[in-house]
Symmetry: C2
Subunit: 234 residues, 2 copies
DNA sequence: GTCTATAATTGGATAGAC
DNA sequence: GTCTATCCAATTATAGAC
């Protein structure tokens, strides 16, 4: 079985950028420049890591590759992140926020059709602009989300419960057909992320990518139509 | 970058079970028994491999683990499959058929609502009974489907085109709202596979699995309702 | 902070006896 | 066909100079 050794205790080593500069002779601005430089390097590494992890997974990616892509040496990378798994965890952490963002918009005062239509568009924008994030998230889920499990149970769960209440309120007000909120949310996630996660298949079958403006709009319209109106003629 | 060395030339080594028994002293039934034994072992290995590959991916799984799970020795496994990638390819090949199966059902004479409702149920059955297959397929897609790309372009593509025609015929006959066939197919795939691929998340948020009979039925009904009727009250 | 070794380990694959 | 014993390559991670 794949090792999970340092996973739990992964917050152990402080990253250098977190350490405050000790009183030195340098001017404040020089220190700030330095700090920014370091932070930039960190995010360069994180960005490179996301790109590779999201395609090849944790085990399919070597530190070397990440380092090369981030244009730093391998040992330099290991100076910033104590080990591969710490790097991976840090990439994942940044992800969840981005992933949850669009859902927060929902509120009972809105018109449901509009709110949900909007949500679909926003999620498709994420699929278009951050397909790597979507894919890594998916990868992690497939593997049983060993690293996100806790967050899933806490943050995501409470958020989903809250939004389910909103959906129920809409239904009670007769503004929405009686649909199970959970299943509706699953459906929305699935349909929108599909364009990122199965991008290759979408491309192979339709000949287009979300990058293609016209195709993107068609995707938005069709998903909206299916979810809102359904496909049986009225 | 991850190596792709022997991928193309992977059909090189014949698997032992494919070789016909040479004229021997054994009785026909003895030979048959032997062949079946071998075939059984092969599928034991393939089954074990599917289970592990679908969770941890190609690189996250070692031959050792597969061998252990299939209850054979590592070198014995390598007798049946020349190398890890050949094993992986064989697992994938078996998959595609299973994956395409449900779609073949579609034909223009059927009532669209019924045909599509049926399709949703059949796909959800697959998600329930063969989640590992669904997950591995998803993994492969995320990674750009290096091994399925050809099949995607051929088999899947022509099948999808054919079924898109059926959908278009339904629309022209006024039996279906004007929806882009491709996007509809994507939506159906996405919503149904989601229950397998994101099973952990579904479980974490809803507290249920498709194994749960009542939950399964609710999933079927809700997906059907969303796709067919939509969620805006009529 | 960054680099050049290099240690340490894992894991894929082969050789050859039985 | 199956096993044991290796070989060998790829990687992670560390040590220590600059």
């Amino acid at each position: 079985m794949p090792k999970t050794k340092a996973l739990a205790a992964s917050a152990s080593k402080e990253s250098p950028a977190r350490k405050r500069a000790k009183p030195a002779v340098r001017s404040a601005s020089a220190v700030n420049r330095r700090l920014r430089q370091i932070e930039d390097k960190r995010s360069a590494i994180l960005g490179a890591a996301l790109g590779l992890f999201s395609r090849f997974g944790l085990h399919g990616t070597s530190i070397d590759q990440v380092a090369a892509r981030a244009d730093v040496s391998k040992s330099n990378l290991l100076y910033y992140f104590a080990n591969k798994e710490e790097l991976y965890v840090n990439v994942l952490r940044d992800l969840l926020a981005l992933w949850l963002e669009p859902l927060r918009g929902f509120s009972a005062e809105q018109d449901p059709a509009e709110a949900i239509g909007d949500y679909i568009r926003r999620k498709l924008v994420v699929s278009r602009d951050r397909p790597d994030a979507s894919r890594l998230f998916c990868l992690e889920m497939i593997q049983g989300a060993p690293l996100l499990r806790d967050e899933l149970d806490r943050e995501l769960r409470t958020l989903v419960e809250k939004k389910s209440e909103v959906i129920r309120a809409w239904i009670d007000a007769g503004k929405l057909a009686p649909v199970d909120p959970h299943h509706l949310i699953f459906a929305l996630w699935a349909m929108t992320q599909h364009y990122a996660d199965f991008g290759v298949q979408v491309q192979a079958l339709s000949g287009h990518t979300l990058e293609d403006e016209a195709f993107f709009e068609r995707a938005v319209e069709n998903v909206q139509r299916i979810v809102l109106q359904g496909i049986v003629p009225r």
